[in-house]
Amino acid sequence: MKSTQTRNNFKRGLAAVAATFGLLTGAAVAQEPIKIGSFLSVTGGAAFLGDPEQKTLELYVEKINAGGGVLGRKLQLVAYDSAGDAEKARTFVKRLIEQDKVDVLVGGSTTGETMAVVPLVEAAQIPFISLAGAVVIIEPVKKWVFKTPHTDRMACEKVFIDMQSRKLAKVALISGAGGFDKSMRAECLKVAAKHGIEVIADETYGGGDTDMTAQLTKIKNTAGVQAVLNPGFGQGPAIVTKNYRQIGITVPLYQSHGVASKEFIKLAGTAAESVRLPAAALLVADDLPTSDPQRSVVVAYKKEYESRFKSEVSTFGGHAYDGLMLAVEAMKKAGSTDKAKVRDALEGIRGYMGTAGVVNLSASDHMGLDLTAFRMLEVKGGNWTLVK
């Protein structure tokens, strides 16, 4: 009798120990954070891309963790500053994949950095959501590479369609020396004819240039120019805009989504009046009609960002928000952080509402936005307004 009881006790004790052990390891596994790897141009020439992107990622990783995390696990952000340098980006991505062992990558502020790490990402088979602009990132489609911002080609098309509606057909281009500038200029030249636009002048300026009156004078002296488009970002477009008014060019000026932020208006001052550009609805969040399906998402993001960081919201931060949310959404759908499952889940996301627009990903479209995601904005009274 006693021996059976002892044996039973022993078995129960063993079971209890085993159960506790199982619970502990299970709990230990559950406590392991989901690692989101990121490489952004927080310093350097593309700092106004990377800075809001990093702030956004930090803010929302915190918020998501405060709300209980994803799949019962906390998120951990591992971010490096690649300063716009493709070499650094490559080294940091190697570090993220091999050393930090992240589960998913959200980053790559510039196209150069993104393209540099594509071979690494494909070889390591890890899902990567890029925050850069050029169409070459997702065309041709690469299995593990996605992106959230609109492509530069879409920006060109939106501008050209608006020009068509205003009966402007002969256009001058002025662009900078950066990757974004050159890529968008090339796309614009490609799609111009399709929209009935003829490019009759094509000037360029250098990255650190402080004066573009020479190039603009050439444009002014070209006969028949009906509108000017400036694919560019950074300080270049602000100076172009100021010089534009200074030498008295009167035809409409269009900028690119590269300067879609309040900063541009501050820098260009009164010269920015009546400048038009294609941008995400985020910039005019409060002006969107209540019936607009995007309104709640963009207003919420704007409020959060501005109250936390005391500075104007920017569309680039919005792209980071979309990237993080898509990654989280995919992980929830897949029910795990297994890289292949998350990748497949990403391709299956339909009708997701982000700050950039409605996202419909698929096996053939790794960006998911269409032209409705772009709104045409105009500067009126020192502010962005929606062009109806």
């Binding site: 927080v42 350097g44 700092a47 360029t204 402080t210 004066d211 009156t213 300080q235 900063e263 001052g269």
Partner: protein
């Protein structure tokens, strides 16, 4: 005509930066690669002070003084301890200083671009078929004033003449009782002030940010070399020439290659005049 006016404006800024290079070089035979950062400090400090509510008349001198202080600190803490080192080592120290200052600026301010309101408004003035901003007139005017003041300083005042003497022959200057260390100290402060003034003048036209110093420092250095290192006149002429050359190439040749053309011109000048336009013909002691 437009190209000429633009070139003059940009050239005046290069000239101020180049003067800064020349002054420090004269006192110590060191090229101060942190010169560009003084330009940046001038612009950014003024932005902050104006944003804090100070009027321009107060903000500008304060910003210049701040930059001068940084220049003095740089001399005291980075250059003086390494006095006996080779020229290359000193260059690396100033490069390290410029990186340090840029990192510091990133933290004190931010990474965004900032605009400064022009001194007397935005309306362009028409001159002979071209337009010029009122701010450009300020740039040219102040540069001219500074050049005049400096030539008075170096020609008439005791301290200025002492600095000139040091640049010609350091040992001899020490022998006649000139405090060479003080000369070095002052030259850093003076160069920093010049750089800061350049930064403040140009900021309303071009916006400013924490890394605006890199390119301007490089172009200022190029201008100083073009004019001949150590020659104040050379620095000014070199700066103006560089600015005009850039502007003309952008207008008449290729706007994409304008920077390259400027450097090609510099290389060509150096090939034919190895000491720059006004530099001292070097003789080598055996």
């Amino acid at each position: 005509m437009q190209y000429l006016l633009t070139g003059l404006t940009v050239g005046a800024i290069y000239a101020l930066v180049a003067l800064g290079f020349s002054i420090i070089f004269n006192a110590s035979h060191v090229i101060n690669f942190a010169q560009g950062e003084f330009v940046m400090i001038g612009g950014m400090a003024t932005v902050s002070l104006v944003a804090a509510g100070l009027p321009y008349l107060l903000a500008v001198p304060l910003a210049v003084a701040a930059a001068a202080l940084v220049g003095l600190a740089l001399e005291k803490f980075a250059v003086e301890p390494a006095r006996g080192a080779s020229v290359v080592t000193l260059i690396i120290i100033t490069i390290g200083a410029s990186i340090f200052l840029r990192g510091l600026a990133m933290l004190i301010w931010d990474k965004n671009l900032h605009a400064l309101r022009p001194f007397t408004g935005d309306a362009p003035i028409a001159v002979a078929g071209a337009t010029i901003l009122p701010q450009s007139l300020w740039v040219l005017g102040v540069t001219l004033a500074i050049v005049l003041v400096l030539s008075w300083f170096f020609g008439r005042t005791l301290l200025g003449k002492a600095m000139l003497a040091t640049s010609h022959n350091r040992l001899a200057a020490q022998l006649v009782g000139i405090n060479v260390r003080m000369v070095l100290f002052v030259s850093f402060g003076l160069s920093a002030a010049l750089g800061a003034i350049a930064g403040i003048l140009i900021a309303p036209i071009t916006t400013t940010s924490y890394d605006v110093g890199v390119m301007l420092g490089l172009k200022g250095f190029a201008a100083a070399i073009l004019g001949g290192l150590g020659s104040g006149v050379g620095a000014v002429i070199g700066g103006l020439a560089l600015g005009i050359a850039e502007s003309m190439s952008a207008g008449y040749l290729s706007s994409a290659y304008k920077d390259a053309i400027a450097f090609v011109i510099i290389l060509a000048v150096l090939f034919f005049m190895p000491s720059g336009l006004f530099g001292q013909r070097g003789g080598e002691r055996v």
